[in-house]
Symmetry: C2
Subunit: 432 residues, 2 copies
């Protein structure tokens, strides 16, 4: 029997702040980074996972991942849903580590990185991409992977089982459809705050030419700038392309409402992260005031308990799960089930380092085995850093292609690990 | 001018799990720990702070504190409110570190430890205990210390200023009153889950003899046990002593309601942490169902945004701030102001390592300069580990004495640092 014999962690950072890629109202100079984990085995493939950060603190994130090694090293390589459930419940059940959250922030992202690496390992070993691995599980197996603690006032295991059983017919057809047609994407590439109007217009035009029917602009820095940029983008892309806007938590509740009313004439499709990701009641107030503009959030939502409340309070119209913020695949299964129960489409957050690579698996699985629908669903696409991955996300004609390589796609190339290791890789030693 | 020349961090752990002190329904075997920080100066006293954890992960917490050194080392020693505001806003404004939260979990507790150490340093330098240092600030200075981001739908700077000005008359009298009479305490010492019925009864009897008019029991492990223990405690202490119960987040919403109805005949004063600290709507449902039993939470509430919602939703009747969970003194000023605005008494969480030492300063300041009231207010008291502090909390006849030593009281004795350092102190190398 194969075992996990080591847990390696690397601090990998890309100097993205030099180009202002990724600049927004709250994050003016991110260096997109990964606290990267490898589960080494004594037989067969290794497993890969990561936590995404934006620079400083990536070392702390790496230390948090390393602290989980005793739960993993020496364990048989996970192969079944039961194995993957046992690992997750052991990690969330560590009462001493739980104190550091509970289930939030650095400690929780560390747990998510390890859980995701274990899923990657299991899917690699099975020789299938993660979305296929997940799509082959029975409803009972999927329910057994979810921690229903704190969810029973919104979703019980029995309800979850019913939802999953109702989606069983047609699984094979939907999987085949994904392999033929892919899954809808939208692009954030044109809209970073650090870009000039000329660059914004050119990239927006290019996005439409590339087949996207939805783009996203960063807002929240300066109202006059936002009105001008939104007007420009609308003129460039025309009436039929959706334009979402994203404030990256910049506003208080009343500011969000007032600011968005100024942008409303240009028909924003959704307002993303209008305020603190912790503020359920704030999102509820914003959603009520701005209806019919959709309210979206999720990339910084810490766990299923906050998502449960956002859904129960009717505070969001779009749920943006993140592959690396919460407790890995297991907690994202809970979040997909909650979203389906409340009828809210999941449009994952992506970009960063590896998020496009990872989230596509979750959306594809959602289509096959949970919601069974693509209506109103779209995965974010940001076209940078993909070249560093061994199984990069590919978008063609505005759609993600279904991945075919075994695993969860988080593996970075060896030459990337050597070049971008912080602080001693040549990208850092030679430039600073 | 004196400067901060170094930031030292130590991983200090006490083997409390060996005696089941501190055992509750979620935390069966805690080793109470401190990620302990010293701000070294080149002239005059150093500053001391800590983050409290319960064992594993204390090294991660220490790494997070260490990562903040660049914001602190080389800085002039803070002396004024403006200096302390500038440090806090620089730390919460680090956009790369913010990604690790925002403002929650390991990264936020690290920030809190450093901020608290800076306050300790300023108060030591001024030669006064922290509560006196705070109580000498003007309303304008206090408002300048608070981050109102995400609060304006509940509390504006102008409203905060009004509240503080209204409490200015009588400050000196209330401070003198505290020095004469102290501040009310309750004790959790009798109620740990790991204790036998005999020990529970004996310690409850002792608590009343020691002058306490309120005790607290841990619940949530087993309903029959809880009914028996609650009945026993009520018999021992009589009708006039308040008995609070604490479930340490063990329950879902419906379980909390059902379980507490079984304990209701024994008149629990409050139910603490009935469910996830993230679940604002859950607390609201529980508070509505269990009225008039009070609902309390706070030791795991991550920041002012969650407290704001708990208050706005009328979801808690008692606010239990924690000195080390949030962004230090500055964020606790925001929380005290919010609680006062909404008319909810603050009854701080204490125990752990150093929490009794620290929180007393905040409650005393609240009495002097914010709420001006002791009605329904009481500070938790757990009688262990105080002997390790140079300025230990002292409770006499059921009341905390007002501290008189300069600073914020987080300093551990040198011999404690040597003995309990993990993993190489003799307490750990000789016992395991």
């Amino acid at each position: 029997m194969a075992h996990i014999v080591d847990l390696d962690v690397l601090d990998i950072r890309f100097p993205t702040s030099r180009e202002l890629d990724g600049s927004d109202a709250m994050n003016p100079d991110p260096d997109y980074s990964a606290a990267y984990v490898v589960l080494r085995t004594d037989d067969g493939p290794d497993g890969y996972g990561l936590a995404f950060t934006i620079g400083r603190g990536n070392d702390v994130q790496a230390a948090a991942i390393r602290s989980l090694a005793p739960h993993v090293v020496g364990r048989p390589v996970p192969e079944t849903a039961a194995d993957l459930g046992a690992l997750y419940f052991e990690l969330v059940g560590d009462s001493q580590l739980r104190w550091l959250g509970p289930e939030k922030g650095v400690a929780h992202m560390a747990l998510g990185a390890v859980v995701n690496a274990a899923w990657d390992l299991a899917a690699r070993r099975a020789g299938v991409p993660l979305w296929r691995f997940l799509s082959a599980l029975t409803p009972e197996e999927i329910v057994g992977l979810v921690d229903f603690r704190y969810l029973s006032d919104a979703l019980t295991p029995e309800e979850a089982l019913e939802l999953l059983r109702a989606a069983e017919p047609g699984r094979a057809e939907r999987a085949a459809h994904l392999e033929r047609e892919g899954y809808p994407a939208y692009t954030t590439t044109p809209g970073w705050l650090g870009y000039s109007d000329e660059k914004l217009a050119a990239l927006s035009r290019q996005a439409v030419a590339d087949g996207f029917d939805m783009i996203k602009l960063k807002v929240g820095g300066d109202l006059d700038d936002d009105v001008r940029r939104m007007k420009l983008a609308r003129e460039v892309v025309g009436d039929d392309v959706r334009i979402a806007v994203d404030a990256n938590q910049r506003w208080d509740v009343d500011t969000a409402i007032g600011w968005m009313r100024e942008l409303a004439p240009f028909r924003p499709y959704w307002i993303e992260e209008p305020t603190s990701p912790d503020d359920v009641l704030g999102h509820e107030a914003i959603a009520t005031a701005l209806d019919p503009i959709r309210v979206a959030t999720g990339e910084h939502v810490q766990n299923r308990v906050i998502f449960k409340q956002l859904l129960k309070a009717d505070a969001i119209d779009v749920l943006q799960l993140d592959a690396c913020r919460v407790g890995g695949v297991n907690e994202n299964l809970a979040i997909l089930l909650l979203a389906h129960k409340f009828g809210v489409p999941v449009c994952p957050h992506a970009g960063g380092v590896g998020l496009c690579e990872l989230v596509r698996h979750l959306s594809l699985f959602d289509y096959v085995a949970v919601s069974g629908s693509m209506d109103g669903r779209v995965i974010e696409w940001v076209d940078h850093l993909h070249e560093h991955f061994t199984d990069p996300a590919v978008v063609r004609d505005g759609r993600y292609l279904a991945p075919t390589e075994p695993g969860f796609s988080a593996r970075l190339k060896d030459e990337t690990l050597a070049a971008y290791r912080f602080p001693d890789g040549p990208v850092w030693t030679e430039a600073s």
